[in-house]
């Protein structure tokens, strides 16, 4: 009960103009509000109550808008901002000209995290990598990663290089979400068993709010390596259309003479997609299988649930 009552934060921070709003809009399928671009010199704070992995709330902060103003705000509101943080995602703009200042703000955030939420996970995204020439991307990213690792001690930070124009953003956020799901290894083994029992070609597990693929099982090689991102994009577009009609998306079945695909709610944090290439298996059979599997997986989550909250209370 306590884990649901306690809202933990995911902080998305970075310099203004580093791409946080676009990133959040793309990952969570929100419309970009015009007003956030007009705020100019004021601090851009967004509290979006996106139910992300159960009880996480995403907060978006601009760092380094105007120096003196930022310093004052940081010192006076620090505890408020940095308490109860589960995840810190810091976005660096790769083509920023003020590396010293960026690192300085990053370190201030880390200090505040150490004081208020020492068990938070830290991720650093080096963003807008598409603006760097291809042959130099690895080099630049490696340098940045070394610097960030060094600066982040004693906290451990995981670094990703991202760009909204290739698959790196999707993969980075999928990895982040993968590390945040409490019992993901167990989910994966059970998923494989489930897929083999129902004779599915492929089974995907999506995170509920963002439709990022966190785990998948496939029984043979598939042609398109980018299919996960494409499916996520298509479903998010459909969710946008549904929300225009004040409807919510729950499940979908796509069927033709060659395959049948089922997308449905699975556990409290996840959606499942099952692809069957044997058209002789009736839909009802697969749907019953999914329903029974759901009960099993929910039990798995509940088993881990109290244990999870217990360890959190003990910190």
């Amino acid at each position: 009960m306590s884990s649901t009552a306690m809202k933990k934060k995911v902080l998305l921070m970075g310099k203004s103009g580093s791409g946080k709003t676009s990133m959040r809009s793309i990952i969570f399928a929100n419309y970009i509000a015009r007003d956030t671009r007009r705020l100019g010199a004021t601090i851009d704070v967004e509290h979006s109550h996106v139910r992300f992995l159960g009880n996480l709330v995403l907060n978006l902060w601009d760092c380094g808008g105007q120096d003196t103003f930022m310093e004052n705000y940081f010192t006076s509101q620090r505890d408020n901002i940095f308490r109860n943080v589960e995840v810190l995602i810091y976005v660096f703009d790769v083509e920023s000209r003020e590396l010293e200042k960026d690192m300085h703000y990053y370190q201030s955030c880390l200090e505040a995290i150490l004081q208020n939420s020492p068990d938070a996970k830290v991720f650093c995204l080096v963003h807008k990598m598409d603006l760097v020439q291809e042959d130099q991307r690895d080099l630049i990213f490696k340098e940045r990663e070394e610097d960030l690792r060094r600066l982040s001690r004693p906290l451990a930070c995981t670094c990703f290089r991202t760009s909204i124009w290739d698959e790196t953003l999707y993969k980075a956020w999928s990895s982040i979400v993968y590390q945040l799901i409490p019992n993901v290894q167990q989910l994966e083994t059970n998923l494989r068993n489930f897929a083999q029992i129902i004779e599915a070609d492929e089974v995907l597990l999506f995170e509920r709010a963002t439709f990022l693929v966190i785990s998948h099982y496939q029984c043979k090689e598939q042609r398109d390596a980018h299919r996960f991102e494409k499916i996520s994009n298509i479903i998010k577009q459909f969710k946008l259309s549904c929300s225009k009609l004040a409807a919510s998306f729950q499940s979908m079945e796509v069927r033709n003479s060659n395959f049948a695909a089922f997308i449905d709610v699975f556990t409290s944090n996840t959606y499942v997609m099952v692809i069957m290439s044997d058209p002789s298996i009736p839909s009802a059979a697969t749907l019953i299988n999914i329903r029974n599997a759901r009960k099993h997986f929910e039990k798995l989550e509940r088993l881990d649930g109290p244990k999870h909250s217990l360890t959190m209370r003990m910190r």
């Binding site: 103009g17 015009r34 398109d224």
Partner: protein, 484 residues
């Protein structure tokens, strides 16, 4: 560490950062579209690379997240695959390669100019011949050109006005915001008031014209069905190309009425005094009572238009803008045909008026300038229309081309109708403020024009009503669609 990374970053392709969050590089993005692949067939010939396919999926998704005029999430040129990898699929199933080269210098009319021409072309085109008649032929042409240049200059100033405001981000300001900045509350309310005046004026004109067209359409259908001929009752030319003069007796009725609208009503009130030769005289008298241009039709229009005005959003009607283009093109063709068939009748009397002709310079020219200010009016939405164009020189060029096209269209229609008006039997003074009124109801070509225009106005009227409603409701109630 920092010195090592700086030279590497300097070789990066980039544009200067003007406003935060903007990754605009060039003002013209290369177009990019990928056909959906059939995922089930084993297609051996891979026409689309995997990167292009997934980029297309991303572009589709990102375009749903922002407004269409927002360039924040549109792909910069360097992520789009090079032209060699792009194929264009024709509906016949063939695919051919894009031949490369960007959409740099386009020959012909830029598409933005055409959009502006489409928006500006309104019902004023029907009044230009009358306006030229009121000012005199030569003076009319001179005024048309100079008013066009004057309104173009004003429009350019309106376009440049947000840029000259320092320290403020004016990227989504419209002209009333600029007025508010310079003149405070007075500026905001006065610009709203004048915008209302032009919108409501346009709605009144539309109502009058729609009554006119509906009346004539009904009359044509009735006369055709009941075989009624009206040729002996209206004063006009004889022969196959009939041109009528609804006001033969009031010689200089341009001096009596001061505005085009009252002239429209004056001409229409005459229509009730016709005598008919036909089979069913009592039936036609009854028809005339119930189908009268001034007494009943404006009320029938309420039944037609009131449901359309109550739509919450006007986006449905915005799809019919192509009707306007078709109507204007048809009018141009109609005018050309009539001019060819009627021939030119021009005589130049400089300052004295004769029975059939008007002087070249008349004192009534302010009526033409009045018509022209509304004919060339687009200042309230020009900033929004030209938002897609980033470079200032392109905006100036596109706007000038648009005004040139509009001016040429008006000039063509005005001069041809004025010159082709058959003056020996009829006086040039007979040209009506709506030049379609100079043709009898039985003229088929003109009947088609009236029907087209009626359809087009029925689709534009709810848009005008929506604009008025939005502006008034948001000022008075604070919401666009106040509901309990």
């Amino acid at each position: 560490m920092e010195e090592d990374s700086k030279p590497l970053l300097d070789s990066v392709r980039r544009e200067s950062y003007t406003d935060r969050g903007s990754t605009d590089s060039l003002d013209r993005r290369r177009p990019f579209h990928v056909e959906h692949r059939n995922i089930v067939e084993d297609d051996p010939s891979e026409r689309v690379s995997a990167e292009a396919s997934v980029l297309s999926s991303r572009v589709h998704y990102y375009s749903r997240l922002t407004a269409s005029s927002d360039r924040l999430l549109s792909p910069p040129d360097h992520v789009i695959p090079c032209p060699e990898e792009i194929y264009v699929y024709s509906p016949l199933g063939m695919a051919f390669k894009v031949t490369g080269g960007d959409g740099g210098s386009k020959k012909g009319i830029p598409p933005l100019s055409f959009a502006i021409w489409n928006t500006m072309m309104g019902t004023s085109i029907l009044s230009i011949p009358w306006g030229i008649k009121q000012a005199g032929f030569t003076l009319g042409i001179i005024l048309l050109i100079s008013m066009g240049l004057l309104t173009l200059y004003c429009c350019l100033r309106v376009l440049k006005s947000p840029k000259s405001i320092p320290y403020v981000d004016t990227s989504d300001w419209e002209f009333p915001d600029v007025c508010k900045y310079y003149f405070g509350k007075f500026g905001q309310w006065s610009s709203l008031l004048f915008s209302m005046v032009s919108l409501i004026g346009a709605m009144v004109v539309y109502w009058v014209l729609m009554s006119n067209f509906l009346f004539n359409t009904g009359k044509f259908i009735y006369n055709y069905a009941h075989n009624v001929s009206m040729s002996d009752t209206e004063f006009g030319t004889n022969g196959s190309e009939r041109v009528i003069c609804p006001f033969p007796d009031t010689g200089d009725h341009g001096g009596n009425c001061s505005s085009g609208i009252s002239a429209l009503y004056l001409s229409s009130s005459n229509n009730n005094n016709y005598y008919y030769y036909g089979n069913d005289t009592s039936g036609t008298a009854l028809f005339d009572r119930w189908w009268s241009k001034t007494n009943t039709i404006p009320f029938y229009l309420i039944i037609l238009l009131l449901p359309l005005l109550n739509f919450r959003s006007a986006s449905f009607f915005a799809r019919f803008t192509f009707l306007g283009t078709i109507s204007v093109v048809y009018l141009i063709i109609l005018v050309t045909l009539k001019a060819i068939r009627l021939g030119f009748h021009l005589e130049f009397h400089w300052l004295d008026s004769t029975h059939f002709y008007v002087p070249e310079f008349r004192l009534l020219f302010p009526q033409l300038t009045g018509v022209l200010t509304l004919a060339f009016f687009i200042h309230n939405c020009i900033i929004t229309l030209m938002k897609s164009n980033k470079h200032q020189e392109n905006k100036v060029r596109d706007l000038s081309v648009a005004y040139l096209l509009v001016g040429l269209t008006y000039l063509y229609v005005g001069v041809l109708i004025f010159a082709a008006f058959p003056s020996p039997p009829l006086s040039k003074d007979c040209i009506e403020p709506n030049f379609l009124d100079n043709f009898p109801s039985s003229d088929v070509l003109v009947f088609v024009a009236r029907t087209c225009l009626l359809f087009q106005m029925t689709t534009v009227y709810p848009l005008l009503g929506y604009l008025v409603r939005v502006q008034v409701m948001s000022q008075v109630f604070g919401k666009h669609y106040p509901s309990p």
